[in-house]
């Protein structure tokens, strides 16, 4: 058997085998377009190999011409599929170059059937026998077809396209593929282009053996593709392993969720379905089989908490994505429990909510403890206020006696005026107006005292800082006067209101001022000063300072001064400052002490400015 027949048949069958394998791969995975193009490339190569064999074994020039003419169909297929392969496998190469190469080749194919005997020869005049691989094969002799240039241009365009694609993936960092696939394709394409130029223009007298180059190309690409397939199978193996790991993690998560006593709720917005874990159902009092609907769940939420919860859910749904709420759930049995819910909304590609997943947790015990702590704190604060009012009792009695004395004297004066023959009624009217004013004054003192003595919870509202400082100053004014202490108040202009409970804040300020007054007791009467200043402490806070002209706080007491039961006063309880600090912290503020450079202590605290929604 002849060597040429064996080799070319083997090229054809090898390429067909590879094409079949690759085609099957594409059939199973229609996304693998590279495999399809590879399959077409290999098929084209096989067909071209048989064409070459036909040419070498041609009996007449006409037979040679016909085989060559039909050989342009696999050539077209090879070029187009190579372009497609490069585009899909390398994901590189300029589109216009791809279209140029394909377009030129298609044009060449059309010309092949229209002009001359075929694209390469206008006319084949004869066949010549030459020796190739130790046997005699035919090559053509004739007039070259100038339109052949179109086909060779298309090959050149393909080489340029492949070079461009290789450079791109080289730059991308994928040097291995740039070298093997890109470099291989360029090399073998270039080789076959050169060969076709030399042979068809009659420069070299050898048979066309482009299928050899194409086969090498197919082998290189086949190797790359199959190693990709190998990698894919490795990946899938690893995926299986990680899936097993995932299952393990899921099991652990489930364990954690159960151990943490979390209930899980998942809502599918697109299908409008809800799924809840058993723990979740138990938490909200649903049976294990009951169908869940949002409306039914919301009916179990305490009416007072519903609005806040709904607005939070709405915010999460409209793009915020997460929600976090504490609310009371009312079970069908009438039992009320505190529930903390943390959830996350997932959105689909169009930005619409797709899923909401949340965990719910019973926090009744925590809430109860918090409430007890709050009550205790309020009891303590109240005790502190009562004790402080006790200290101020005599000063406050004086504060009330003052207007009462004025009322009495005015009334007596009026009586005397009325005994006149012609009483001065204007004077009497003035007296009556004064009496009313003094009565109001005494009433205000009593109201302030009652406010301080009342047992009450913390209720925050916007508080005018000037009024706050003024009210407290009115309470201590009398005591300060009696002790020859000058009380200076400096409130910056146009301070915005703070958010707080007026009585609790008065208590803190009162406590600090009374402490300050005690601190200056030892000083000379002219040097006893307590200054209260209120200024803007930051964009969202107001800072209030109580400075005294005493000796300051010894450095070893600076830390302990806020400890409960720490006191430097013979009859002190040591609760004033700890209570004050608790109150300020409950207002999200800070209370601290520092010594002033010019002597004396400076107790300072910050309070948050009330938001606009509160002030309007």
């Amino acid at each position: 058997m002849s060597l040429v027949t064996i080799i070319w048949s083997m090229i054809g069958s090898a390429c067909l085998t590879l094409a079949a394998i690759s085609f099957l791969t594409w059939c199973r995975n229609r996304e693998a377009w590279a495999n399809l193009f590879f399959s077409l490339l290999a098929t084209g190569t096989a067909a071209f190999a048989f064409c070459e064999l036909g040419m070498m074994r041609a009996g007449t020039p006409a037979e040679f011409g016909t085989v060559l003419k039909w050989g342009h169909v696999p050539t077209w297929l090879i070029l187009v599929s190579l372009v497609g392969f490069a585009r899909f496998y390398l994901k590189a190469g300029r589109t216009w170059l791809a279209w140029l190469a394909c377009g030129l080749r298609t044009l060449a194919l059309v010309l092949n059937f229209l002009v001359g005997q075929n694209l390469n020869y206008r006319e084949i005049t004869g066949l010549r026998h030459i020796s190739f691989l130790g046997e005699s094969v035919q090559i053509a002799e004739g007039v070259p077809n100038p339109w052949m240039l179109v086909g060779q241009m298309s090959l050149l365009a393909l080489v340029v396209f492949l070079m461009d694609a290789s450079v791109t993936i080289w730059r991308r960092g994928d040097r291995h593929r740039a070298l093997t696939v890109g470099g291989g394709a360029i090399f073998f394409m270039f080789f076959s282009t050169v060969q076709s130029v030399f042979v068809f223009w009659g420069i070299l007298r050898i048979p066309i053996t482009a299928s050899l180059s194409f086969m090498c190309l197919v082998l290189v690409m086949g190797y790359e593709l199959s190693s990709d397939t190998l990698r894919a199978s490795e990946l899938s193996l690893r995926l299986q392993k990680s899936e097993a790991g995932l299952h393990e993690i899921e099991q652990r998560m489930r364990l954690a969720v159960e151990a943490a006593d979390f209930g899980v709720l998942i809502r599918d917005f697109t299908r409008n379905e809800m799924w809840a874990s058993d723990r979740w159902r138990a938490l909200f009092g649903f049976s294990e089989t009951e169908r869940l609907e949002l409306q039914k769940i919301l009916l179990r939420v305490h009416p007072e908490d519903l609005d806040a919860l709904l607005s939070m859910l709405e915010r999460a749904r409209s793009g915020y994505g997460v929600y976090d709420a504490d609310f009371r759930a009312v079970l069908p049995s009438g039992e009320v429990r505190w529930v903390a819910v943390r959830g996350r909304v997932e959105f689909d590609g169009a930005g619409k909510p797709a899923f909401a997943r949340s965990v719910a947790h019973d926090i009744s015990r925590q809430k109860k403890a918090e409430e007890e702590t709050r009550n205790l704190r309020q009891e303590l604060a109240h005790a502190g206020r009562v004790s402080m009012m006790g200290q101020l009792a005599s000063a406050l009695a004086h504060e009330i006696n003052q207007p009462l004395g004025a009322i009495l004297r005015n009334a007596e004066a009026a009586e005397l005026f009325m005994q006149d023959q012609s009483p001065d009624l204007d004077e009497v009217r003035a007296i009556l107006a004064d009496i009313r004013k003094d009565d109001q004054r005494a009433g205000n003192v009593i109201d302030r005292m009652r406010g301080m003595l009342k047992r009450r919870s913390l209720e925050k509202k916007p508080v005018n800082v000037g009024e706050l400082v003024g009210d407290v100053a009115a309470l201590v004014h009398s005591d300060a006067t009696a002790r020859s202490i000058t009380l200076e108040l400096t409130v910056a202009d146009h301070l915005p209101p703070v958010l707080g409970d007026p009585v609790h804040l008065q208590q803190v300020l009162l406590n600090l001022i009374v402490n300050g007054m005690d601190a200056v007791n030892g000083a000379n009467p002219g040097d006893r000063r307590v200054c209260v200043t209120a200024t803007l402490g930051g964009p969202k806070t107001i800072e209030i300072a109580v400075n005294d002209s005493g000796r300051g706080v010894p450095s070893d007491q600076l830390i302990r001064i806020f400890d409960p039961f720490f006191t430097t006063k013979p009859d002190g309880m040591g609760m004033g400052l700890p209570i004050s600090r608790t109150i300020i912290e409950a207002h999200n503020g800070r209370l601290w002490v520092e010594n002033q450079n010019e002597g004396g202590a400076s107790f300072r605290f910050t309070l948050p400015i009330a938001e606009q929604e509160y002030t309007t």
């Binding site: 009462l404 005015n410 005397l416 003094d438």
Partner: protein, 219 residues
Amino acid sequence: MSGAYPQMRDIAPIVYVVDDDESFLTAISRLLRANGFSVRTFSSAHEFLTQRDTETPGCVLADLRMPGMSGLDLQSALAQSPNPLPILFLTGHGDIRSTVRAMRDGAEDFLEKRAPKEMLFDAVTRALGRDSRERAARERQRELRALFDTLTERELEVLSHVVRGRLNKQIAADLGVHERTVKLHRTAITTKLKVQSVAELTRLTQEAGIFPEPVRTFP
């Protein structure tokens, strides 16, 4: 007693009320005026001390607790002036320590702010009377001092012996002068002091407070 000094009767005594509480100040001044007193009001001790006319008789009605200068401070300052006024204190409620100190320093009286008005009027009247008396006494003392200032040093020396009840002969012996000289000094003394008897002379000397040590009648 004031009858003896007619030039002072024309100036009506004034009640000076000092209190930092404006509304109480107005009320009490109304009441005092309605009862016929002349009243001037001051909102601080300092204001009163700088504005008062020392010659005008009257009394002070001051709040014990005031910012700045307290009632007690006012009392001390007033005591150092040439014409101190009796001071009445008004208090909201009794403060023992202050009361004791004020009384020891000669406070006229203590009144609660809401004391019956009769007590207030009586106290004010009493204080005005005391001022009038003290003012008259101070005036008479000034006159007597002026009278005694006309005596020479020798005459004063003789007088000191006379008021101790010593005889002319003894005085002459003590001073180492002739008895007739002593007689001449005594005549000059009685003429200058416009007195007739030794008893009258002794009383006048005591009233003027010329000799600080107690006059010893017997040697």
